[in-house]
Symmetry: C2
Subunit: 184 residues, 2 copies
Amino acid sequence: MSGHSPTTHLLERLSRLIQNEAHASGLKPVQWEILRFLRLANRFSRTPSAVTAYLNLTKGTVSQSLNALETKQLVTKEPVAGDRRRLTLALTAAGQEMLAGDPMDALDAAARSVEAARGEDLSGGLRAVLSDLLRRRGGRAFGVCRTCRHYRPEPGVAGQARCALLNEALTPADSEAICVEHDG
Amino acid sequence: MSGHSPTTHLLERLSRLIQNEAHASGLKPVQWEILRFLRLANRFSRTPSAVTAYLNLTKGTVSQSLNALETKQLVTKEPVAGDRRRLTLALTAAGQEMLAGDPMDALDAAARSVEAARGEDLSGGLRAVLSDLLRRRGGRAFGVCRTCRHYRPEPGVAGQARCALLNEALTPADSEAICVEHDG
DNA sequence: TTTTAAATGTATCGAGTCGATACTTTTAGA
DNA sequence: TCTAAAAGTATCGACTCGATACATTTAAAA
């Protein structure tokens, strides 16, 4: 009959707050999350199916949300050479501009200032909670390229690397991006 | 162009996960949150307007969601003696039963096990982030009765107390419940 | 090579969310 | 008393999101 642990309760309230902030800012929560994902994902991962897997939505929801974002001129879809089923997504200039007014920046500022004031890093504990939860659900972790087992640093050239799975050269920026293929 | 801090990013992902879990479990996210609030709120705070303030929704949304919960027989509405504008909400037995299958229990288990394993309490940091954010927005903190400045412990009788604002006796259970009037 | 299965994305339906706005009734305050 | 504030309801519109059905393209098996 009593409720959840203090930490769970706070995560619930923060989640609600995040929804509120997103709603009160032009776009819908899912639309914001798609824009944020596209900012972070590498070029192999900017596809509808990667968005679907990352946000754990259905293909239908993602398809509709992408249509809405395309209509607002925040995202473009382009066919992929070599596989005519696939699309590559990209943020337009307006999409990047929109992210400059991301309502989540307020939470980011709060988190940074709290962590600075307390000299405490919350990310380790939260990461453990997230991966525990994802493991229970069988979901993927979606890590950053550089931490993948297919990541091969180019010997000699600092920052340069190669993906052994896709056999593609990786720029330093690629290495820090989220990849659908991560670890797999 | 780059994203948010690791902590913010993790809070975003956990928020999405919480939405997913809620959606995949019979009720909608807001409906779950209303049930959870009613479990935690004291008798002065189980009203539509308290729900509205706590979840930062509009009166319309809350009214509709409560109708849905009433139709599902999870919540009842009763008039308040002395003020015919007000309603008191209550969980039915079915509503309490429903909370026994709360999808958020999975996150709660994850949070508890992570905190136990790491010997770390995430709640302090999260509470600071939440109150920082609420302060920026001018929202109320909605604390627990016992921590309110109108809380008056009954001298001599352990656990017994009194609310100096509403002039009501408080049981030990009341003292641990969320109150709309908190601090005000 | 042909057939089958899997993958990618779209279209449509229905219940629900949620801000906005307008409204009624009741209570409190000048 | 008259007015303003408070508590809830009703309705509209854009969007969410699971479910289902569908078309197309690619890969894998026979």
